[in-house]
Point group: C2
Chain length 349, copies 2
């Protein structure tokens, strides 16, 4: 795994006022889930069902597919590693910048790797048995609509398109291609319960694909990889009458406002994103310096994104918080940039 | 994974009066752990520490080794898969009968396999880079003392000895070789919090070895494989002033008594075991038939052990329960055997 990955807060917790570095949405409407899991604690007294039958059946119903098209995994991360394993030593094209685990998983299982900035540049001569894409993508929030993905699936029937939808519930107006796995045997969709429900500590994700792909992945899947409480969390979430939406709506509006405000700061370039997180780029200083300044002087943690393949030393990712904290962050960011690149705070003469 | 593995109770729960099939000890002295984990539920709001630093440090202190000699895993099962992966395509000797996951993990990572009934039969011409042994062993409870293992380590410096101590806390008078990993770079010890604390649903285990082996395994380890509550469970257990022992003492005495009682039943052969579980063999009927009879007529579940490599159709494994239930089980077993092999219930003329 690449360094500084995830919200690894050990050792800096005492400095922290707000964490803009993680794109997990701290949804206030999901406390019921934690209460429920407390009542389910005795389930850890038995082995979890290695086949995750109850949750697979619920997922199949949700997406109008069969349980044979569903694999439950230890977070969506395990889905990437299982895919890389089941297709070891094949060629993978990764749309970059990307979540580092696609590349790490492929490297571990000796894939030949190709990196592309756009799906359209893949032509018949590109060696790519698998094509990996985040939708919306992490770290830049870029979103492809189903029509674009369907066009790719139809033009590339010999390639497996791996669509990581871990963040799709946090993306404005986004539509999942999950139900399309019945129609396209070359489509794999990976999803997570983590992001909208803010439970990355419990490790629960899933993968939807053609039964033949699921079988191939199951052959690589060690038993009991998903713990008993994680299964209960997934079951609870799927049984909810509706997804928490008011808090999310508000957060996405805040993300847009924050993007607009930051774009006004001299020396900063913002990549527009339809999600709660987005990329920015510093023009005259590094993300590492800004991160240090913001944490030590103001207690705000950002994600230095310079270690994402294809990004530079000035790139950082932030996830919008609530209005009050965002306003404090904007002021802190202006002040920090003034310290780090003072010449940019005045119009050039 | 082999079929009928673990206590897979889905679908038969309504028939069940007592479960003799799992060798997880239902320790009544561990309820405090479940209460503690309820208070720790908010930890699932953040990613677990991918390096498991707090737990590794506590384990290092416990075994008088360094944190660089410790790897925390998603149950001990993940430790087997990581080892098989890190040493893929090498030769493994497995002491049989054995927990099926050693073989499954090695097969998945294309090991050449050798099966031996005894460590002593391995000589310099046996192709074995790794040697796997359960201590005490599952399913037969066989125990090797440290002197035997040390002799093997010293006579086979070129071979990695993998000692699975998942059940060692449940074995009378057993001594762990865990602290010896500092002395023998060819020793790997795998342990679990699951068995004595009866929490197989939470998935937490660990592996102790030379730092160079730990590094090799870490390179194969996907991030966040161990969930946040599992880490908390491990930390809690290591902080306990003493291990729960009175209940265990009683259970081991019950296991001995049950072994003696069963050995008296005509048509049954019992393999003596120093643990809470042991193997028995039916001489004139199959374990599958006995299992069906015991479950359907009496509500007792046993582990048909005929699918362990090296065992036959008559083998089954049981784990002793409390005195009352054991007595009911003995009566049920006598009755079932009378039905299945009536000729054996009377002395031959």
């Amino acid at each position: 795994m690449i360094n500084g990955h995830g919200n690894n807060l050990q050792g800096i917790q005492h400095l922290l006022k707000a964490d803009f570095s993680t794109n997990v949405f701290d949804n206030p409407q999901t406390d019921g889930l934690l209460d429920y899991l407390q009542t389910q604690m005795p389930t850890i007294r038995n082995y979890p069902d290695p086949e995750c039958r109850i949750l697979r059946k619920k997922l199949a119903t949700t997406f109008h597919i069969s349980p044979e098209q569903v694999l439950v995994t230890n977070g969506s991360t395990e889905a990437f590693y299982l895919l890389a394993h089941a297709f070891q030593q094949q060629c993978s094209a990764i749309r970059t910048p990307a979540f580092a685990e696609y590349e790490d998983a492929c490297t571990l299982y000796q894939h030949q790797l190709v990196f592309v900035g756009d799906l359209n540049v893949l032509n018949s001569s590109t060696p790519a048995d698998l094509v990996w894409i985040g939708n919306p993508n992490n770290p830049d929030g870029r979103y492809h609509n189903p029509q674009e993905l369907i066009a790719f699936l139809e033009q590339n029937p010999q390639r497996l398109l791996v669509v990581d939808e871990a963040y799709i519930d946090l993306c404005e107006g986004a539509e999942s291609v999950a139900p399309l796995v019945s129609q396209y045997p070359n489509l794999v969709v990976i999803k997570s319960f983590t992001k909208l429900f803010a439970i990355p500590g419990i490790r629960i994700g899933y993968l939807l694909a053609h039964p033949s792909i699921i079988q191939r992945l199951q052959a690589c899947h060690m038993p009991w990889a998903v713990n008993a409480l994680a299964l209960k969390a997934g079951e609870y979430i799927l049984d909810l009458p509706e997804k928490p939406s008011a808090a999310l709506r508000q957060r996405l509006d805040e993300s847009k406002r924050l993007q607009t405000e930051l774009a006004r700061i001299p020396g900063l370039r913002v990549s527009p994103s339809p999600t709660n997180y987005f990329l920015s780029e510093l023009q005259q200083t590094t993300a590492a310096e800004l991160k240090k300044q913001l944490l030590e002087k103001h207690g705000f943690l950002i994600r230095d994104a310079s270690n994402f393949r294809g990004l530079g030393p000035g790139h950082f990712r932030i996830a919008a918080q609530n209005e009050t904290i965002n306003n404090e962050f904007i002021a802190a960011l202006r002040a920090s940039i003034n310290v780090l690149q003072p010449c940019l705070s005045y119009p050039s003469l």
